[in-house]
């Protein structure tokens, strides 16, 4: 594979000439194909393309992307749909990225081509897979993609998120919301608990006195638990009830017809049920044989390359990133390491040791935001935390407000970094 690459970069092997009958073959640039236009994929595409010398194609069916991060703020009424939705047009134009608006259906790793349902193929020298997550609908008995049209998961931003907001806004006082939280590992560890905070914010703002939110959690603890618990007590006393497995005994399933969540120790009738199922890497990566038994894809922490195919890099929620959580920030950080390493291979770019960062902000109530984050590096075969931090309980209101300004500033920054 290496010799092929050198031939290609060097300009010119008979093989390349045979495959690409173009007169200007001597100028052919090495080809990067990126599958998936979320924060991981779009960032790699931009960062590889912006310095030239590589032909970059982004395969992403959507014309505009709605971020999962800050979709809870949309739910809570803090942001509009437009504010969390971003077009690919700017980066396509500014950096010469070809945007192929189709869904890739498969990868042929031997031939190094991406396939489409139409029969079309796209060849690559290097491939980046950033397919995000797929949901394991059957991890909750009674749940399915069909049932999700009534009991939304809203864990992939889009119509599901809008459906959840409509359902939330339609509730009358005295309503019960049940959220089935996901088991580890999943996208956005504090996300379910920020979502519950936003639901409570909406109910409180509408003057609900008797509505309640029950979280049925398969985990014994969760991200920023102390901070959320403190915030819920302070802002929404008596409204939110979190149940760990000792309290509910295990999730037995959902019944969409009777709007019931069944657990070992009791059933809950609800007016709104939000099921966030277990998760796995996007299908295209699993079908290509790049995932292990966990359902996610092992990578080399030095460069984000797949552990089983040196021509493929995997970033974002689909990969196993060691101590890094699955988040938009993490995907963006991994993508920059990936882009640097790919430019090192394809365009003789300088390379430096990989380093990664993440911060996750969570809004609990207006002007009350907390954060958790860390720095990471490749160590002992995985991406390992070198330093971490978390907001403290009992912080003063000024600091929490400042943290919310930082949260909004970060969002403006990261979307400018990815989509402009």
């Amino acid at each position: 594979m290496n010799s092929n690459r050198r031939q290609f970069i060097g300009g010119l092997g008979a093989l390349a000439a045979a495959s690409f009958p173009m007169p200007a073959i001597a100028q052919a640039k090495p080809k990067l194909v990126v599958v998936g236009g979320g924060p991981g994929g779009a960032t790699v595409a931009k960062y590889v393309a912006k310095d030239g010398g590589v032909d970059v194609t982004l395969v992403e069916p959507a014309r505009r992307f709605t971020t999962c991060f800050h979709s809870n703020l949309y739910l809570g009424g803090f942001k509009s749909w437009e504010e969390i939705t971003h077009s690919y047009d700017k980066i396509a134009k500014a950096y010469g990225i070809k945007h192929v608006r189709q869904r890739a259906s498969a990868i042929d790793r031997d031939k190094k081509v991406v396939k489409f349902a139409s029969g079309r193929t796209l060849s690559y020298d290097r491939l980046v897979l950033a397919p995000g997550i797929d949901l394991k609908y059957d991890s909750v008995p009674g749940y399915s993609e069909e049932v999700s049209k009534r009991l939304p998961h809203a864990w992939q931003a889009g119509p599901q998120t809008q459906l959840l907001r409509r359902q939330l806004n339609a509730l009358s006082d005295g309503a019960t919301i049940v959220m089935i939280a996901p088991p580890n590992p999943y996208r956005c560890p504090p996300g379910p608990y920020e979502r519950v905070s936003m639901m409570a914010h909406v109910l409180k703002a509408k003057g609900h006195k008797k509505s309640r939110i029950v979280i049925i959690d398969p985990k014994e603890n969760f991200s920023k638990q102390g901070l959320f618990m403190e915030g819920w007590q302070k802002h929404y006393p008596g409204m939110i009830e979190w149940q760990d497995p000792k309290m509910h005994g295990g999730v037995k399933g959902v019944d969409a017809r009777s709007m019931t969540v069944k657990t070992d120790l009791g059933d809950y009738k609800a007016q709104l049920i939000n099921v966030i199922p277990a998760q796995m890497a996007g299908k295209i990566a699993r079908d290509a044989g790049l995932a292990n038994q966990s359902g996610f894809c092992p990578i080399n922490p030095e460069n984000m390359r797949s552990a089983s195919d040196a021509n493929i890099t995997i970033v974002g929620d689909a990969c196993i990133a060691g101590d890094m959580p699955k988040s938009g920030f993490s995907a963006n950080s991994q993508a920059k390491v990936a882009a640097m390493m790919i430019r090192g291979e394809l365009a003789n770019g300088r390379t430096f040791p990989a380093r990664y960062t993440n911060t996750c902000w969570s809004l609990i109530e207006t002007d009350d935001t907390v954060k958790v984050g860390g720095s990471y590096t490749a160590k002992d075969g995985k991406i390992a935390a070198t330093e971490t931090f978390i907001s403290k309980t009992g912080e003063n209101a000024d600091l929490r407000k400042q943290t919310q300004q930082e949260n909004m500033g970060w969002y403006a920054g990261i979307v400018a970094d990815i989509w402009s």
């Binding site: 720095s375 930082e406 970060w410 403006a412 920054g413």
Partner: protein, 108 residues
């Protein structure tokens, strides 16, 4: 990178920060290194220099940049995100970042 974060920072402080860095010696930062390292910063600090809740850091005098990062490393400045980020950079890396961001002009 070879020892744990806290230990590394403690060691760095002991060795390097008895006094602040002599900034005159940091004038010649490696701009290419700075450009790569900057990718971590521009997730929050916009390269255009636009302010939307997080302060812009482009076009600063290099010496000010180094001094402020030094203060985050020593935890004289509060923000834990910046303490964590600044804490892992070596003096050469901070100089590289200062050289890079110093060379970028704000579009605002």
């Amino acid at each position: 990178m070879r020892c744990s974060g806290a230990g590394r920072i403690a060691a760095s402080i002991a060795m390097s920060f008895v006094a602040s860095w002599p900034t005159a010696a940091l004038a010649e930062g490696d701009r290419a290194l700075g450009e790569y390292l900057s990718s971590e910063c521009v997730t929050c600090h916009q390269l255009s220099g636009k302010y939307q809740g997080i302060p812009p850091i482009v076009g600063w005098p290099e010496q000010s940049f180094v001094e402020i990062m030094d203060e985050y490393r020593q935890k004289k400045r509060d923000n834990p995100v910046m303490q964590t980020i600044a804490g892992k950079f070596s003096r050469d890396e901070i100089a590289a970042l200062a050289a890079y961001f110093g060379s970028v002009k704000s579009k605002n």
